[in-house]
């Protein structure tokens, strides 16, 4: 079955008009190179070349302790840093059979969702930029700043926080945390409709996004596309629903699914997810239980011999962490299944046959973060 869904290997021809988009190009959002073959304005095929920011995070992890691995996960999908941290923490906690306090679960979930909103805001900015709506960038960043301020107050850092440790959190959140988060919810509820006024309803925007880069559900499954990109193609792939972790089993929220499968559907999924994230935070923020901010852990963590696997829903899809331990203080092998890697390679299927401008819109709608692809 998969042969029919996944296209054959691309054959290069001598007279192809190739342009290399990237590794330094304003719309690839990082050091990614698309080898694009053009026929006039139309894209004939596209080959992504990766590896420009490969740092060998998986190999590095084999030489360092589990606490240190967490800091490396920040540098994968830097916009979902907190969620990446949590995945590794959950693996260690499961292996050590540590029950984390309820307070930690609540705070982790709230931070996950704040992180998701911040990530979607930045995606919205960048997507607007890709389509040439430069003003969107400043509206998105204005609101993202509020979240980063909350992060800064609690963790002392805005982007790569490494706030999770195996067993809990580095330290307790700032006393202002609850108050400011609630302020942010009321603030952002007012500001989110502005996003729709500026971009969603715009006729040029809709023309650019609707019907562009259609991805069928089968194709999404075949390529392993997850996250909002997959849900835009009606693929129910939300790990928060499939295998709830943290406090996700205690909250009510909807998994946003769209059937259209085009760029606009992926856009709408992310916009609706921001509303859902606000809903989740609102349900948790007043009920954070009192208690310790971390479970009691040994200073040197050695996982029992065996294989451990956990997955979380980052802002871009399913991040799975697979750890093989030989009983030492550093892992024998770590494998990260990063969402962006799978999401990237569906690009040729979506962009071939469209225009160059469509290619930019599609890569924007897949919301690629390049360090997560290369790791």
């Amino acid at each position: 079955m998969s042969e029919e869904i996944i296209k054959d290997v691309i054959v290069r021809e001598n007279e192809d008009y190739i342009i290399n988009m990237g590794p330094q190009h304003p719309s690839t959002h990082g050091v990614l190179r698309f080898e694009v073959c053009l026929k006039g304005e139309t894209v004939k095929y596209l080959i992504p070349h990766i590896g420009y920011i490969h740092r060998g995070i998986e190999k590095m992890s084999e030489a360092i302790t589990y606490q240190q691995v967490i800091h490396l996960t920040d540098r994968m999908d830097y916009l979902s840093a907190h969620i990446n941290n949590e995945a590794v923490c959950m693996v260690v906690e499961e292996a050590m059979q540590v029950e984390v306090p309820e307070r930690v679960k609540y705070i982790r979930t709230i931070l996950d969702e704040l992180n998701r909103i911040a990530s979607h805001q930045l995606w919205w900015c960048a997507f607007g930029m890709d389509l040439g709506a430069l003003t969107a960038f400043f509206y998105g960043l204005r609101d993202r700043e509020q979240i980063l301020d909350i992060f800064e107050e609690s963790f002392g850092s805005r982007l790569l926080h490494s706030f999770n440790t195996p067993g809990g959190l580095m330290h307790d959140v700032h006393p202002n945390f609850q108050k400011r988060t609630k302020e942010f919810i009321t603030y952002f509820r007012k500001k989110l409709p502005e996003y729709d006024q500026l971009l969603t309803g715009n006729i040029i925007f809709q023309e650019r996004a609707k019907g562009v880069g259609y991805m069928s559900r089968e194709k999404a499954i075949a390529y392993g596309v997850t996250g909002p990109s997959g849900r835009g193609s009606n693929l129910a792939c939300d790990i928060r629903k499939i295998a709830p972790y943290g406090a996700y089993d205690k909250v009510q929220f909807d998994e946003i699914l769209m059937t259209e499968g085009d760029t606009f559907a992926r856009y709408q999924v992310r916009m609706a997810e921001m509303w859902e994230s606000l809903k989740i935070i609102e349900q948790l923020i007043d009920n954070i239980p009192e208690g310790d901010f971390t479970a009691k852990m040994k200073p040197i963590i050695k996982l029992p011999v065996g294989e451990y696997f956990k997955r979380v829903e980052t802002a871009r899809g399913e991040l799975a962490v697979y750890v093989v331990s030989d009983g030492n203080k550093s892992p024998y092998r770590v494998k990260f299944r990063s969402p962006n890697f799978s999401n990237l390679f569906v690009m040729n299927e979506l962009a071939a046959g469209g225009k160059i401008a469509d290619l930019v819109a599609i890569s924007g709608s897949l919301d690629l973060v390049i360090p997560d692809i290369d790791r």
Partner: protein
């Protein structure tokens, strides 16, 4: 013509006339004409540079307001000297030589673009009596010379030996050639109404009301078509496909640096001014004050505002509108751009010009 005393106060022809008389009394007529040409050229060069700098500053401030920012505010009062500082920076930058580029054309291209805009500027009536080139085919002339700029853009894209530049230039060529039609037809609407192609006579025909009011709905449609099509013609957002930075890095001027890049940049802004000035002249009465029918008192008060103020107010209003939609709209795709022109704007303006011809024949306009 309005014979009011008040409108005579601000007539620049008294000033220019006295300069002409003085020069003629000092030297032979031939030399006097030569001196006048040199003076006009110098004044224009200075005006051109200052206007370019001011428009860049204005754009930054307008986009800052739209984007919740402050904009330039460090260099000089309210950042007024920012663009001058930028110009000095651009002047000092290295002109990066491109290997395997067609050097002659590569150097020539920015000059063609800038000369085209410079020539069009000559026909703009700035105020009463302040009009360098006033001849009977003014509208036609401005259209013709301003479309010369596309040659420069095509040469720039071709000669810089870069694939991005070439795509940008091709886009720009297709775009400008298409939208020229709509611009021409919408200007023709007013030419039909006023019965002349001379810009000064078009202005005089609007003494008792601007064409946008006098020409009923068809003139308004023509104005909207003109606004859209001329924005596309000067390659500004949402029609800035030729330099779509998210797709083609910088389009046709990707390989240009330093002052050569500044030339393209400057020409783009001056073109915006020319288009806005043409729109203001043809549709909004140029330097003609706002007059309403028989309201004598109101008309008198309006006459006391100098004609140059009227002209620049109207022009900058149109410039603001053009900037406004650049900073709020996403960019179109190339096929959508051509569809908009060939399937919507062109048929609309063709039907519109028939309507206007009918109105003008029946003398149904005011």
């Amino acid at each position: 013509m309005n014979t009011d005393m008040s409108s005579k106060i601000y007539d620049f022809s008294t000033l220019t006339g006295s300069i002409d008389a003085a020069l003629n009394s000092w030297m032979s007529p031939g030399l006097a004409v030569l001196t006048e040409l040199v003076i006009i050229g110098l004044v224009f060069l200075i005006f051109y540079a200052l206007l370019g700098l001011f428009l860049v500053y204005l754009e930054r401030k307008v986009c800052a307001v739209i984007q919740n920012r402050v904009g330039p505010n460090r260099v000089g009062k309210w950042g007024l000297l920012q663009t001058i500082a930028d110009l000095i920076k651009l002047l000092m930058k290295e002109l990066i030589p491109i290997r395997k580029a067609d050097h002659l054309l590569f150097i020539l291209a920015p000059f063609i673009v800038i000369i085209a805009s410079f020539m069009a500027m000559g026909a703009v009536p700035f105020a009463k009596g302040l009009h360098v080139l006033d001849f009977n085919i003014g509208v036609f002339y401005v259209m013709a010379v301003s479309s010369l700029g596309v040659v420069g853009i095509l040469i720039a894209g071709w000669s810089s030996n870069s694939k991005y530049s070439l795509i940008g230039a091709m886009r720009s060529g297709a775009q400008i050639v298409s939208y020229e039609l709509s611009v021409g037809l919408s200007l023709m609407a007013i030419v039909v109404f006023s019965g002349t192609m001379s810009l000064s006579e078009i202005i005089e025909s609007q003494v008792n009301g601007w064409w946008i009011f006098k020409g009923h709905i068809p003139a308004f449609i023509a104005f909207i078509v003109f606004l859209i099509a001329s924005t596309a013609e000067i390659n500004r957002g949402p029609f800035d496909l030729a330099e779509a930075e998210s797709e083609l890095t910088a389009g046709f001027h990707t390989e240009y640096s330093g002052i050569k890049f500044a030339f393209f940049f400057l020409a783009e802004y001056i073109n915006m001014f020319i288009v806005a000035a043409l729109g203001a002249t043809v549709f909004l009465g140029g330097w003609m004050p706002l007059h309403i029918g028989n309201w004598e008192g109101f008309n008198q008060v309006m006459d006391y505002i100098p004609s140059i103020v009227w002209f620049f107010t109207k022009t900058f209003f149109i410039i603001y509108v053009i900037m406004w939609f650049k900073w709020t709209f996403p960019r179109l795709r190339i096929d959508q751009l051509l569809t908009l022109e060939w399937k919507f704007l062109l048929p609309i303006s063709m039907v519109n010009i028939l309507l206007i011809a009918f109105l003008a024949l029946m003398h149904w306009h005011f």
